[in-house]
């Protein structure tokens, strides 16, 4: 077969994908790099990140403190070598974004300003008001436009990885606007497709977050890691699931129950103070705050709403000036989508699925166990996030590991061989499969299956789980996986239903991986809380879950020891 179409093909045009593309274009201008994304890059979900990006910059801060906060926040499931290299690289990546034009908020002298964030003992979160992800994504996207060596496939949808002789050699993808299906070959592929929040019914995640890359890698034989660790953000707007950033609490917001009481003080998170205290109360880690909500609900101290019980986030005492300067987007979102003004009114909030700690197993350079396949950002699990990610670590993560994966893939691509004719046969198989799906009639509606999957995941694998709820969810997911979907739309031109059917099958894979990983881990750690195994068990589970796909059979689970360098497992202490 001829030489491949690209040296490096990146799936996903969000923060990780664009950072990887720039890394390739700058370090190896001779390489042909491409970004394939199912949406125009500036639509990617990085755009929705609000609060900020952590990187040590203040004089009173240190890399070790950022590392310790991350590791204890992750309940000792982080690989400490990865965390150490991550915190070292983060400030430089954030400075690089500044040089590319990111409008980071400043102090009066013109230096980068930093704010407090949950679980962080020092102020180290860089921010662009409360639209950090938006500015970061547009800065990266606009920066890529100057590199002619970056080719883009906008609104293309990858359906399968091509594998030859054990090596990843490209993808099969659909051009959404025409329905044309094409094999796109490459020496190396980098997955930067983000997370999978849409597996659950109530999520901050955009409609496009369907675990595409996780499923593509899994089907191709790469293991997924730590998939049982699903982060619930404590403050989402009811009904829409719109994120109300942790920065709202970092600026001084209170979480109160139906009696106006700051209930977090009852859950070993410290004592209430007027001003925010680092690593205390509302600035505790997300897993502990979301769990506290469920306990508060059990005590009957939450407030019923048409969309589930809620508590209130109170920003009124911050005043209009602070809210406008530091949280303008939160005010806009409340006004536009909840019809209330946080300057004078309480914001109803409840925990909402937000982030996947788990993902495709990679090493510190972004390489997966499959030769030629790399991953970075939320789709990947290095792991620096362990059992619970700290807010503001995901944006620097996608920059640091996006850049590294780009460099590693470029290196690999230089010495790789062209694919054999074998990939053409695989592509032909895939084209047949996709056309069969396109013409399918007489099955169940996509939305019906999706709603059932989401409800099974919420009741079976939510904030608290046990063997029974997880088994029920596993059975339901298995049944849904064998159901036939039918399409109303059989045309080739921008067929969003065809793509939704493929996304649904990706989500069912991811749901299966989450449920089986959770069933296997008989302990409670971070965001994985088993009511039948309420304690952390380091003797059995100071280890990453690796889950492998098996066609027509339950997945296989294995464990990989956590890398500990300098911080032996200890107690997570907040507010005292």
């Amino acid at each position: 077969m001829d030489s491949p179409a690209h040296d490096v093909l990146i799936l996903g045009g969000g923060g990780a994908g664009l950072r990887a593309a720039i890394a390739v274009a700058q370090s190896a201008p001779e390489l042909r790099v491409a970004v394939l994304s199912k949406v125009y890059p500036m639509r990617s979900h990085t755009v929705s990140a609000e609060g900020g990006a952590a990187g040590v910059v203040a004089k009173d801060d240190s890399l070790d403190e950022h590392a310790y906060d991350t590791i204890s926040g992750g309940d000792w499931l982080c690989d400490q070598d990865a965390v150490e290299s991550f915190v070292r690289a983060a400030p430089q990546e954030l400075t690089q974004l500044e040089h590319w034009g990111c409008p980071w908020s400043r102090d009066a002298s013109g230096h980068i300003a930093v704010r407090a964030f949950g679980g962080m003992r020092k102020m180290r979160t860089w921010f662009a008001a409360d639209k950090t992800g938006f500015h970061l994504l547009h800065t990266l996207f606009q920066t890529t436009l100057q590199y002619d060596s970056i080719h883009r496939y906008d609104e293309w949808f990858a359906t399968r990885l091509l594998i030859d002789d054990g090596r990843v050699q490209g993808v099969v993808a659909i051009d959404a606007s025409t329905g044309r299906i094409q094999a796109i070959t490459a020496h190396a592929v980098i997955l930067c497709t983000g997370g999978c929040g849409r597996v659950f019914p109530f999520t901050t995640n955009a409609n496009i977050k369907n675990g595409d890359g996780m499923s593509l890698a899994w089907r191709a034989g790469a293991p997924l890691k730590d998939m049982e660790f699903v982060q619930y953000h404590p403050t989402g707007l009811p009904f829409t699931g719109i994120l109300i950033t942790e920065a709202a609490r970092a600026e001084g917001g209170y979480l109160i129950n139906k009696d106006g009481y700051r209930y977090l003080q009852d859950y070993d998170l410290g004592t209430p103070q007027l001003k925010p205290v680092l690593r205390s109360m509302e600035l505790g880690p997300r897993d502990r705050l979301s769990q506290a909500f469920v306990h508060e609900q059990a005590k009957g101290r939450t407030i019923p709403s048409p969309h589930g019980d809620i508590v209130h986030l109170d920003l009124r005492h911050l005043g209009e000036d602070v809210i406008n300067a530091r949280l303008p987007f939160i005010r806009e979102l409340c006004l536009k989508y909840q019809n209330l003004d946080p300057v004078t009114e309480l914001i109803p909030v409840r925990p909402v699925v937000h982030y996947m700690m788990g993902g495709v197993h990679t090493n510190n350079e972004g390489a997966t166990p499959l030769p030629g396949l790399y991953a970075a950002g939320e789709v990947a699990c290095v792991s620096i996030n362990g059992a619970n990610r700290l807010g503001s670590n995901s944006l620097p993560e996608l920059l640091v590991f996006g850049a590294r994966a780009g460099l590693a893939a470029a290196d690999y691509a230089r010495s790789a061989h062209p694919p054999s004719d074998h990939v053409e046969a695989q592509a032909a198989d895939e084209i047949r499969r996709l056309h069969t799906l396109l013409h399918r009639k007489g099955g169940r509606r996509i939305a019906d299956i999706r709603v059932r999957m989401q409800s099974a995941m919420e009741s079976g694998a939510g904030i608290f789980r046990d063997a029974k709820t997880l088994c029920d969810a596993a059975n339901e997911i298995a049944e849904l996986q064998s159901a036939d979907v039918s399409l109303d739309d059989h045309s080739l031109t921008f067929n969003t239903e065809w793509i939704a059917a493929l996304e649904l099958s990706f989500m069912l894979d991811v749901a299966q991986a989450i449920v089986h990983s959770a069933l296997s881990r008989e302990e409670s750690r971070g965001a994985h809380q088993r009511t039948d195994f309420p304690a952390r068990d380091d003797s059995r589970y100071l280890a990453h879950t690796l889950i492998y796909h098996r066609h027509g059979d339950a997945p296989r689970v294995d464990y990989l020891p956590v890398t500990i360098t300098r911080w032996p497992p200890g107690q997570r202490v907040y507010g005292r």
Binding site: M42, S48, H138, Q142, D154, S177, I446, T493, F494
Partner: protein, 247 residues
């Protein structure tokens, strides 16, 4: 009997509905629903072939712009009107080629965006080890508003000039160029000038101001264009006085 809302949705498919038409749908009224929720209700339950773009549902990804009763709007940020006697008419953004139903082709904008060089241009690079460029809040204020563009294309759908002259760079692209021109870290204004001050750059704009009216992020592209006209006019005066650019 729950209250119902009537919608008239533009349909076009080159394969199956080559003659554009409006299709009527009824959805239940729900005070929390935006127009996008109604479209998803139809797609999930009634007609899976109805085609539209959406993603974040929080007004920041810029995907879901359509015409609602003739006005360019984000469908995720427009609540369903209650007790509306007239049907709500939903159409694709005007001035763009329609691919399918409510989905338009925005390739023209993507080409124009790249042409205005929307990235930091430096004549002297400084290494990362020297830290960040200092930028005071006042300096940031000079470009910040223009940096909020979400590329939703509502301004192009509102701009009568773009409708008449497809070569016009258009409001968002000019605002983003000016976003970099006004940034204290940027040294690329001279390189953007040939594109911006050409006939199809700012001068095509007759200052109708519709772009600013419809912008969901208060970017005010009309102000960017007016600002740049002044810059370009001063530059051309100076080039009369000092033709070799000595000024």
């Amino acid at each position: 009997m729950p209250e119902l809302v009537n919608l008239e949705v533009f349909r076009y498919s080159p394969e199956h509905t080559p003659e554009p038409r409006f299709q009527k749908f009824q959805v239940p009224y729900n005070k929390e629903w935006v127009v996008l929720d109604a479209l998803n209700y139809i797609k999930d339950r009634t007609d899976g072939s109805l085609s539209f773009r959406w993603s974040c549902r929080m007004g920041i990804c810029g995907s879901c712009g359509v015409l609602i009763n003739g006005e360019p709007k984000l469908s995720c940020a427009t609540f369903l009107p209650s007790k509306s006697s007239k049907p709500i008419r939903i159409e694709p953004l005007r001035h763009f080629p329609v691919i399918r139903d409510l989905i338009v082709h925005i390739g023209d904008f993507m080409t124009k965006l790249k042409k205005v060089k929307p990235w930091i241009i430096r004549t002297n690079e400084s290494p990362l080890s020297e830290g960040e460029f200092l930028q005071t809040p006042d300096e940031m204020e000079r470009y910040h508003q223009f940096s909020h563009c979400i590329n939703c294309m509502l301004c192009y759908a509102a701009c009568p000039i773009y409708g008449l002259d497809p070569l016009f760079a258009g409001p968002a692209a000019i605002a983003l160029a000016q976003r970099y021109n006004n940034d204290s870290r940027d040294q690329g204004a001279a390189r953007r000038m040939p594109i911006l001050s050409s006939h199809d750059g700012i001068w095509a704009c007759t200052f109708v101001g519709e772009c600013t009216q419809v912008c969901p992020k208060h970017v005010d592209p009309a102000a960017a264009i007016q600002q740049y006209k002044l810059t370009a006019a001063l530059h051309s005066l100076k080039s009369v006085i000092a033709p070799r650019g000595a000024a």
